[in-house]
Amino acid sequence: MSRRKRMNVEYVEPELPITPMLDMSFQLLAFFIMTFRPAATEGQIAMSLPPPDLGGPSTNIPSITEDKPQKWIAKITATEAGKIANINLREDGAAATEGEDLGADPKTFLKRVQGYADAEKKRIEAAKAKGQIIPPPKLTLEIGEKLLQAHVIQMFDASVQAGFSDIAPVPIDKAKR
């Protein structure tokens, strides 16, 4: 009987050098941490713009059964530096001299128009209960040409917070509209 030679087999365990891999991962991590810049959250505010100059009569025939929306006009004059000089609020159809001067603070404007918007909201709800349709109130911002965008946005912000959804920006100078 032959003896089987038992061959001594050495089992070699493969060793993976993890340390250099870890070093590289830390390098990548450091790179991405240093280049990471969280972006500020952005949002948008909708606005209404006048219809394009198409010429000819308007094809939009107003409905005789629909009540007219309440319209206000806020005239915002600007200083030479581009800040708000004064805010004048009046109802559509009233003369510019009949408007109410609210100063240069958009918060004062917000408090004033919020009352009007709330009253209009109640009117719309009461009409809706009777089956009548009243479009939402409109606010036109007549803006001085030097007013900076930061302050334009402040006025839009105040208008939206007051409850207006139909806000139209136009220049004070009618020739430039």
Binding site: L22, E42, G144, E145, Q149, A150, V152, D157, K176
Partner: protein, 146 residues
Amino acid sequence: MSQSNTEKCEPNLTPLLDLVLQLVMFFMLVTNFVMEQTSAEITLPSANAAKSLDKGANEIIFLNINAKGQVLLTGDEPLDNPVQVEGYLKRLAAIEMKKTGKDKPLGTLILRIDEKTPFEKSYPIMRACRQANYTKVELRAIRGED
């Protein structure tokens, strides 16, 4: 004579490597190297009432407007006057209408106007947007906390 068996004490690096790779993956996913639609040159004003983007909105087009009233385009010369802007928007509108088969562009125009842009520079661009038949035009702002 006693023989001391010295055992090597090696920490287990595999879980540490897993964790580090998880962090690397996270940062790779959130890092945005190319900002196609927004421009870092524009400093936006802040507004509390600014709303987040409507996810169900049709095609969204961003227009970046700097303090000089120029519309910045990626990889192209900026548009200097409202006539150029109107032409550019009409081309975009034509492409969209051809795609959708509608007679009006349904996309939303989002204007990213620098906070130092005077209204006399930004209003002609707003007007050009309307002249190009876009009905949904919105102003972009940073959502602030008062």
